[in-house]
């Protein structure tokens, strides 16, 4: 049924059609208010001095931890405190809420894609660590 001739002739056209459909869907998602809110929240985080300072401090502790510099327990405690402070920032909370809304949107989109495809799309599209 799916012989070599059919595969080699039919697949390139189908692949192009699928890519075009994926591009159209991406544009539709980008136009959604949930997605635009996520982009806005990401921009706000990038321009928030306090958040950026906390992130720099966390990176510094993570780097020192990896390199074995200083007391590991001190780094872990500092990271926990910084993480808590980071989660308390209004810009971070706004980002987390926006991301949750986009997750809900993408899951609804994926349900429709998967139902039409006859196979779960996102679950099978995720690359595993083992190839």
């Amino acid at each position: 049924m799916y012989g070599q001739t059919e595969a080699t002739v039919a697949q390139p056209t189908t692949k192009a059609a699928v890519r075009e459909s994926a591009r159209s869907l991406a544009e539709a998602i980008k136009d959604m208010p949930e997605f635009q809110a996520l982009q806005e929240a990401a921009r706000a985080i990038n321009h928030d001095e306090k958040v950026q300072d906390l992130l720099r401090q966390m990176q510094s502790h993570q780097s020192a931890f990896r390199l074995g510099q200083g007391d590991r327990a001190d780094h872990v405690a500092a990271l926990k405190k910084l993480r808590s402070e980071l989660d308390g920032q209004a810009a971070v909370q706004a980002y987390q809420q926006a991301e949750l809304a986009v997750r809900t949107l993408c899951r609804a989109v994926d349900r429709v894609v998967s139902d039409a495809a006859g196979v779960d799309f996102a679950a099978n599209a995720k690359r595993s660590c083992c190839g």
Binding site: S21, K30, L38, L105, V112, A122, A125, K126
Partner: protein
């Protein structure tokens, strides 16, 4: 489940239909259908999947798995890995996953987020 605007739903359905018409999905669905009509192969596949999920969950929960159950798993795995219908289905599934990953990358690049991570149920 969230209600999607009509234009969005149509775009999602169009991608789904395009995927369904692809060689990768047709091959997988055909291989899976062939497997399901063979009662012995289907039972073997289901038994292996159930045992695998059970052992995985218990191992992740920190349980030391009994050797007897591990031996049963290895024996079943050998049967699964040499059963022609299951092998064919698994090969088709591997090709489907590689293809879906490529298509999802198209979405992820354009959205600048990892679409499979966001879209997959927790």
């Amino acid at each position: 489940m969230m209600n999607l605007p009509e234009e969005m739903r149509q775009a999602a359905e169009e991608l789904g239909r395009s995927l369904r018409a692809s060689y990768a999905v047709q091959s997988y669905l055909a291989a899976q259908a062939q497997l399901e009509v063979d009662a012995d192969a289907s039972a073997l596949d289901n038994r292996f999947q159930a045992l695998y999920q059970d052992l995985l969950a218990r191992q992740r929960a920190g349980e030391d798995l009994p050797q007897e159950e591990l031996n049963e798993f290895y024996a079943l795995r050998e049967q699964v890995q040499t059963h022609p219908l299951i092998v064919e289905r698994d090969l088709a599934l591997g090709e489907l996953k590689a293809y879906f990953a490529d298509v999802a990358r198209e979405l992820s690049v354009r959205l600048q987020v990892d679409y499979p991570t966001l879209a997959q149920e927790a």
